[in-house]
């Protein structure tokens, strides 16, 4: 739960969003390139989840635990949902769906960091 990790995740999420928009502009569905980018993003999100869970187990507590947990779990599910949806979409808007997922992750991780930094302790 460090700003450095959040910045890294934001960069990965932005890459997913740009790739998604590009494939819409190119009138293509999503391909391997997109899957690799989403895979990197998801790996970073899972790393973040592990770090947060370890910190929580170590006794650190954000002020608003239920909201923090729902963001923590929710943000890790967004790329999965976006990918499944984009894979099923046969028009060129598949990439835009993926781009929306990337943008949502980019916003959610910053909100998550904000929630974490308001510690109850």
């Amino acid at each position: 739960m460090t700003p450095a990790l959040v910045v890294t995740i934001t960069v990965a999420a932005a890459a997913v969003a740009v790739l998604g928009v590009l494939s819409t502009l190119a009138r293509r569905r999503i391909g391997l390139v997109h899957l690799v980018a989403v895979g990197v993003l998801e790996a970073l999100l899972l790393l973040q989840t592990v770090i947060a869970v370890v910190a929580l187990a170590g006794g650190e507590r954000p002020e608003d635990v239920p909201t923090f947990l729902s963001y923590l779990i929710g943000v890790a599910l967004v790329p999965v949902a976006g990918t499944l949806w984009a894979r099923a979409e046969r028009t060129r808007w598949a990439g835009t769906v993926l781009a929306v997922a990337g943008a949502v992750v980019g916003v959610m991780v910053w909100r998550l960091l904000q929630l974490w930094e308001v510690t109850g302790a």
Binding site: R29, P66, S70, V78, W85, A94, V100
Partner: protein
Amino acid sequence: MRDDRGLGAPAEQGASGPGRVLVAVYGTFALAAGARAAVQLATRFDEAPVAYLLSAFAAAVYVVATVGLARGARGRRLALIAITVELVGVLAVGTLSLADPAAFPDETVWSAYGRGYYFVPLVLPVLGLLLLRRGPAAQKSPPKSPPKSPPP
């Protein structure tokens, strides 16, 4: 062929595309508003019952709009009603929350025209209504141009 695997196969033609994107965004908001309302109502309902019930109402409107949009032509009426309620809601709550901040001690999705969500709640119903207006015309006259596909 390698390009198709790497960068994605050429897309199929279809008018439903932008609608699908809107469904994705609406679904995200239905989830976000719903989760937020659930947390607020479950953990601190006493602090600001009006604001939290409003969050729950907003979440319900997003869910109905998502379902309506996802059903395409069959859900058009449902989507139209839900999105109109949504537009009225975001304008009314946005104005009230700025005019009388004391009445809204905690943020809702629609507070200050959705400022907490980068004004997406304000833009979304407008896009939704534009898409629904365009809908029936697009379905009556299918595109006459031959499907465009990039050269192999």
